[in-house]
Symmetry: C2
Subunit: 395 residues, 2 copies
C-alpha cells in the first residue's frame, strides 16, 4: 500500500537507501580511489604543475576518446568553457542567445561575458531541460530569418545561438533542437557541464552541438578540483579554442606575440593529473550512480505525491544529481523537506532559482515559463555521490 | 680588464654562475621542497579538492600577513585577479585605463575584458615600469579633471585608472604615482603579478594601490599550478572581490540566488594547498634569488656593452626574473645571444613585444614610447630559478 509523502518519509527513505556511516551526507562528493595520488605526486616530483607537463595532453586525449569527439581543450572551469564556446560560434555584443531559464548561473553569465543578452526558454516536463517544441512555436512567432541569420522581430537583435543544458545529466531532445537550429540558422552549443557519461540515442551529449562545454568542478561526476573542457568535432574550431584559451599567443621559441584578445583559461597540469585518474574510474562511477538511482526509483515508487526523476527514454543518463519532484498538491512541503533532511545530516537542496528572475536578468526577453516555474517549486535534489551506490552494484 | 659582450661570453658567464647539472636550464622553474606533498595529499584523503576545504582560507590569511594587507582573495590566475581589480575600482565600458606598453599581455587584456580601452604609457629606464614623470607631463597635456573625474580631451572618454606593473619584480616609483592618481582622480591598481616579496620603501608592492593583483602561475616565485590573488586594504572592496569571484551568490544554506553578473574565478582548494606550502618557503626563495642576482651582477660588471638589471634604490626586489640589458651599440647581438644560449640548453628570452604594437591594440591611444621601444630591443632574461641561487646563500 502506498504511503503519502512527508518530510519524515523522505528522511526515512534516504536513511534506508544510504545507510549513513557519518554525521553528514553531502549532496555530491568526489571519490579518489584510483591513481590520483600517483599522478599528482609525479607533477610535484617533476616540478610540472602548471602550463607545462603531460597530463593536460593526456586528459584531452581521454576526453576525446570518451565523448567520441575530435578535439577536447581543457580549461579552468565549465563557465570559462561555455564563454569560449559562445565566442567560437561567433556570439557578439548585443546578440541574443536562447538559454533555459532553469539552469545554473553560468549558462546566463557566459552569454553576458560576450556582451550578449540571454533570452529565456521554458523547460520540458520530460527532460527538465530546454523544450524544443515550445521553442519552435515561439520562434515561429518572434523570429525571422534574413540572409542566413535569425533576428528577433520584437527587439531587432540577431539571435545567434541556442544553448541547451542537460539538467542533472538527463539530456534534452537533441534531434528536435538540431532541426530547429538548421531551420532558423542558429548555432547549437551544448552546456554539457552536468552530463559527462550521458548519451542521447547512443551518442555522447556534447557531441551534437558545434562546440560544447564540460565541467570538472568538485561536485561533478569526475573532478579536477576546478576545471572544464571544450569539445568539438570541428578541428579548426578546436584549434582556435586552444589558441583563445592560452592568451592567443602565436607559437615561437621565445617571442611573445599575441594576435587577438585571448584568455588565460588553460587548465594547470596538476589539475589535469587529477582528471586523468578520475576519468579512468568514470565507467565505475557511472555504474554506481545508475545503481543508486535505480534503488531510489524503487523506494520512491511506493510514495504518493512524489516521483523520482528518471532519464528520458531517448537518454542513457549519468544520473549525476538525483532528484525527486513533488506533485503540485504537495509542493508546499518542499521547504519542510529541505529543512528536515538537512537537519538530519542528509544534504538536499532545491533546484536553482529561475535565471530570468535574478536582478541582472530581469529585463532580459523570455517566453512563457510556466513549466520552469513549476519545476522550480517542486524539485528537491537528494544525495548522489557515486560511493553511495557502491553497495548496489551487482558484482 | 673588461671583455666586450658577445653571445659566447654570455653563455660562458651563465655556465659559470649556474654550473648546469642537467641538459636544459629553464628560465624559471618551481621548487617543491616543503610541505607540498603533505598538504596536497590531505586534500585527496579528505576529498576536499575544490570549493570546500581549509586551504583557500589559510592561503588568503598567509597572503594578508605576508603583504601586510587587510584582505586577500585567491583566484584562478593573475589575469582573473586583474580583471576583477578593474571591476572593483569601477572601470566601465569605453573608459580608458593607463597601462605600460611594456608588460605581459594580461595587463591589456584585463582592460579589454571590461570593454575598456588600454592607453599606453612609456617606461622608466630605472625601473623598466611605468614612468610617472612622463605620465604626469602627458596627462597635463591630454587630460582634464571635471566633477572629480579625469577625461581625455582628445577622445572625450573618461580615464578611470592607472595600472603600473612591477617588471621582473622591480617596483615602479609608487610615491610619484600615488600623487598623480590623487591629483587626477584616477584609481591606482597595481599589477603585482611579478613582485610577490618585493618592497617599495619598506612596504610591500600591491599594498599601495586601492586593489592589486598577484599571480601564482608555474613560473612565478611561488606557484599554485595556476593561481592569482586580489589584495586590498579596503575591507568592503575585499568582500566584494570575494563575492564577484564566487559567482555573486548570496549566502544561503540551499538557495541559489545571485545578485549580479559574477565570475567563477575562485581558486580550487588543491591549488591553494600547494600555495600554502610554497608561501612557507618564500623567505628562503627570496634569499636564494637575491643571492643569485648578486652573483650575476658581479660577473656581468666585468663585461663591456651589457649591464645586469638591478633593483631601483627605493626598492627591495624579489629578483623574480633576472635580466641583462645590451647597450644600444650592442643591441644587434640580442638575437645571437638568444639563439646561442638556448642552443646550449640555457633558456633565455627577450622581453615582451610592446602591447601597443599587437594587432588588437594597434588603434589604442598611446604617448611617445621611446624608452619602452629601446628596452624591448635590448633586454634578455636569463635563468632565475631559486634553486640556482641555493649554492650562493651564505649559511
Amino acid at each position: 500500500m502506498k504511503t503519502t509523502v512527508s518530510a519524515e518519509k523522505i528522511v526515512s527513505i534516504l536513511n534506508e537507501v544510504i545507510s549513513p556511516d557519518k554525521d553528514f551526507i553531502a549532496l555530491h562528493e568526489p571519490s579518489f580511489q584510483g591513481n590520483e595520488w600517483v599522478y599528482v605526486k609525479e607533477c610535484l616530483d617533476t616540478g610540472w604543475v602548471s602550463s607545462v607537463g603531460k597530463y593536460v595532453d593526456k586528459f584531452e586525449e581521454m576526453l576525446k576518446e570518451f565523448t567520441g569527439t575530435k578535439r577536447a581543450v581543457a580549461v579552468v572551469n565549465g563557465t570559462a568553457a561555455l564563454h569560449i564556446c559562445l565566442k567560437l560560434v561567433g556570439v557578439e555584443r548585443d546578440d541574443e542567445v536562447m538559454i533555459p531559464a532553469l539552469s545554473f548561473i553560468a549558462t546566463a553569465n557566459a552569454v553576458a561575458y560576450c556582451g550578449a543578452i540571454p533570452h529565456f526558454v521554458d523547460s520540458s516536463e520530460e527532460t527538465l531541460g530546454l523544450d524544443p517544441v515550445k521553442l519552435d512555436e515561439y520562434l515561429q512567432e518572434i523570429a525571422v530569418v534574413r540572409d542566413h541569420a535569425c533576428y528577433n522581430k520584437q527587439t531587432g537583435r540577431r539571435i545567434k545561438a541556442v544553448v541547451p543544458m542537460h539538467t542533472f545529466g538527463h539530456s534534452v531532445d537533441l534531434d528536435k533542437l538540431v532541426d530547429i537550429c538548421q531551420r532558423y540558422h542558429l548555432e547549437l552549443v551544448e552546456d554539457a557541464a552536468e552530463s559527462l557519461g550521458s548519451y542521447y540515442k547512443g551518442r555522447h551529449t556534447g557531441n551534437w552541438g558545434r562546440v560544447s562545454a564540460l565541467s570538472f568542478n568538485g561536485n561533478k561526476i569526475t573532478t579536477t578540483g576546478g576545471g572544464g573542457a571544450i569539445i568539438t568535432n570541428d578541428e579548426a574550431l578546436g584549434q582556435l579554442a586552444k589558441h583563445l584559451t592560452t592568451t592567443a599567443k602565436k607559437p615561437h621559441a621565445w617571442e611573445f606575440v599575441h594576435d587577438q584578445v585571448g584568455y588565460n583559461y588553460r587548465m594547470p597540469n596538476i589539475n589535469a593529473a587529477l582528471g586523468c585518474a578520475q576519468l579512468e574510474q568514470l565507467p565505475a562511477f557511472l555504474a554506481r550512480k545508475r545503481a543508486l538511482a535505480h534503488v531510489y526509483q524503487e523506494r520512491f515508487s511506493d510514495v504518493e505525491g512524489v516521483s523520482f526523476i528518471t532519464e528520458p527514454n531517448f537518454c542513457t543518463s549519468n544520473y549525476w544529481l538525483n532528484a525527486i519532484r513533488l506533485k503540485p498538491e504537495w509542493s508546499h512541503l518542499r521547504d519542510d523537506i529541505l529543512k528536515l533532511t538537512n537537519d538530519h545530516g542528509l544534504m538536499t537542496r532545491p533546484v536553482w532559482r529561475l535565471l530570468s528572475n535574478l536582478p541582472m536578468y530581469e529585463q532580459a526577453p523570455r517566453m512563457d515559463l510556466t513549466v520552469a516555474l513549476n519545476l522550480e517549486s517542486s524539485i528537491v535534489n537528494i544525495p548522489s555521490s557515486s560511493n553511495l551506490g557502491a553497495a548496489y552494484v551487482e558484482s
